[in-house]
């Protein structure tokens, strides 16, 4: 673990809102090795986006951040903006969900990539343009020279996402964070983009953090998976330990997520094992386990005291007083 590329320890982010406090991220720790893929899974309000933005320093100044996030040993939390900007793009880059809104609609695609290049390196305009075309080729954009001159609205969703990736890769970052990067794309385009990301990872020895709500995506593409609920990690393990024939999901929430996803193998009109209720109100979290109010297996101890995230099996941590047996919820 000492040679981890990114080491996050006890990250906490909270916002003061009127009468209360929102603890968006409540003690999250994980690490990413060079060239590895980590998936951070959670629904809306789980804190997954806030977590990564805290690492990138993209949160507003009044967010209270504590804990540590070390990139190759160098602390990122609390770094002044000027130094953070040096890291962004050259060490860590981020790709967002909606390329239509992340790309400047009034600037040609190629120009935006070239601008990203010139932000971090002293190269001439011509040189930057040539590198931009090279990047477009690397992200498998069809007809890169032509696309270079096109505006974002002339490109399809998949192509725009490729441009975003090209911008992110402009300076060969060691870590790429993809925040729901394929969520708004078609299934076939999503598969293309994921293949592309994985190939680029190998080519450039780049680590990837995938933020998503899609467990299926995590299962297929990630090495390690972290599941967040209400700002805390509730389960953390290697993908093989969680999914597939040899996998065993333990925490009830992860089980609920897995069950709620439509599976091809299920017969038509099957009723899904449903978890009632809604995601917890971040200003009014219950004292015990945050998932207990919705959990069908909740007992008194679940409501009273929050379970700690402990390594119950080798490399597999979960936070649950009454976890699933054998990877299947009893009664499923």
């Amino acid at each position: 673990m000492t040679d981890a590329l990114l080491q996050v320890e006890d990250l906490r982010v909270s916002f003061a809102v009127g009468r209360g406090e929102i603890r968006a991220v409540d003690g999250v720790s994980f690490s990413v090795s060079p060239g590895a893929t980590l998936a951070i899974i959670g629904e809306s309000g789980s804190g997954k986006t806030v977590c990564c933005r805290a690492i990138m320093g993209l949160l507003p100044a009044r967010a209270a951040i504590s804990g540590s996030a070390r990139l190759r040993g160098g602390e990122l939390i609390g770094l002044p903006e000027a130094e953070l900007r040096m890291h962004r793009g050259s060490d860590i880059a981020m790709v967002f969900q909606d390329p239509a809104r992340s790309l400047n609609p009034t600037m040609r695609a190629g120009a935006q990539i070239a601008e990203a290049i010139r932000t971090h390196r002293q190269v001439s305009k011509r040189e930057a343009q040539a590198q931009a075309v090279e990047l477009l080729r690397m992200v498998r954009m069809p007809l890169p020279e032509r696309r270079f001159h096109e505006y974002p609205h002339q490109l399809s969703g998949g192509m725009r996402q490729r441009v975003m990736i090209a911008i992110a890769l402009a300076c060969r970052p060691k870590l790429l964070i993809a925040d729901e990067a394929t969520t708004a794309l078609d299934v076939t385009t999503q598969a293309q983009i994921m293949e592309l990301l994985l190939d680029l990872q190998q080519q450039m020895d780049m680590a990837l953090i995938m933020i998503s709500h899609d467990l299926g995506l995590a299962a297929s593409y990630a090495d390690e998976v972290v599941v967040l609920y209400a700002g805390k990690i509730v389960e953390q393990a290697a993908a093989v330990q969680l999914f597939g024939t040899s996998g065993a999901v333990r925490m009830r929430y992860t089980r609920a997520l897995l069950d709620a996803i439509p599976h091809l193998e299920r017969p038509a009109h099957a009723l899904l094992p449903v978890v009632g209720g809604r995601p917890p109100d971040p200003t009014a979290l219950p004292p015990g386990c945050a998932f207990a109010p919705r959990c069908s297996h909740a007992a008194d101890d679940c409501l009273a005291k929050a379970p700690a995230l402990l390594e119950h099996a080798a490399g597999h941590r979960w936070a649950c007083w009454h976890p699933c047996e054998n990877g299947t919820g009893s009664g499923n």
Partner: protein, 299 residues
């Protein structure tokens, strides 16, 4: 792909926006600020309306049109004349209040005509489309192209200056203004799914317009009308100043400025008093419009 496609966006669970980062003290300050921004201009306007319409009925004021030449050019705070009198002895305070009455009456009429006629035309053009839309839009464009002030001048010359003629002339300006606004807002709302849902529910068209479109475009119309109100007051003042508006000896702010202009260096208050009153009134209208827009957000 060169042309934009009617794409279906594949939406998914979008994370909620980050909450407004304020602590309790800042939150209270924000709420206080918001309340002040609404109530200060609103309060001033209520005061103005009270002074112009209610006060003269409960307190007897000197005549705003006839003055006693013996008491000409009294300075402010003279007995019986709070703000003094002008060169021919007419009480300034009375002129201010009665002039204000006229200003509010005209602006209100023009705005109401604009909303009723222009708004209706705009909604019809926006909702029904077809051939109605280009026809109505061209009519509105023609009205807009017509210089309202020139029209006022012509009317005044031909038919004699009067309050009614001023209202007609300025309506030529407000009708297309509201018309275009209403049309644009209607087009925006018309494309939203709940409109299709309403039609699918079987609701008749007129009911759809009245209960779905109007409530949703109303915030935009109200904020616009406040701004238009202010502009109308200024235009009306300009017409009075030029002598093509309210005929003398009726009191109006514009004519006060015109006559005060002659003695500007000696008694600047004749010009300043109506000017500042007009300024503060229009500023209050604008600020109120902003406060309402803030309160209603983008709804």
């Amino acid at each position: 792909m060169a042309a934009p496609l009617p794409e279906v966006t594949i939406a998914s669970a979008v994370p909620p926006p980050l909450p407004d980062l304020v602590n309790a003290r800042q939150l209270r300050a924000q709420q206080l600020g918001r309340a002040l921004r609404f109530w200060i201009p609103a309060g001033f306007l209520i005061l103005m309306l009270f002074m112009c319409f209610v006060y003269p009925r409960i307190v007897s004021l000197p005549s705003p049109t006839n003055g006693n030449i013996i008491q000409a050019s009294e300075p402010p705070f003279s007995p019986g004349h709070w703000l003094g009198t002008d060169q021919i002895g007419v009480d300034i305070f009375s002129q201010l209040l009665y002039g204000g009455q006229v200003a509010f009456e005209i602006a209100t009429s023009v705005t109401i005509i604009g909303i009723v006629i222009g708004g209706t035309l705009g909604v019809v053009a926006g909702y029904f489309g077809g051939w109605l839309d280009p026809v109505i839009s061209r009519v509105l464009d023609m009205l807009l192209a017509f210089p309202a002030l020139v029209l006022a001048l012509v009317l005044a010359e031909a038919l004699g200056p009067s309050e009614l003629h001023v209202i007609w002339a300025l309506s030529a300006f407000s009708i297309p203004g509201f018309g275009r606004l209403a049309r644009g807002a209607t087009l925006t709302v018309r494309g939203l799914p709940f409109m299709t849902a309403a039609r699918l529910s079987g609701t008749r068209r007129w009911r759809v317009i009245a209960r779905h479109i109007v409530p949703n475009i109303l915030p935009g119309i109200v904020t616009f009308s406040l701004l238009g109100y202010g502009i109308t007051m200024i235009l009306e003042g300009a017409l009075d100043y030029l002598g093509y508006g309210i005929p003398a000896p009726e009191a109006s702010w514009g004519s006060m400025i015109a006559s005060g202009q002659l003695v500007l260096s000696a008694q600047p208050e004749y010009v300043l008093i109506p000017s500042i009153t007009l300024l503060i009134t229009v500023a209050s209208l604008n600020l109120l419009s902003d406060a309402l827009r803030e309160r209603w957000g983008t709804r």
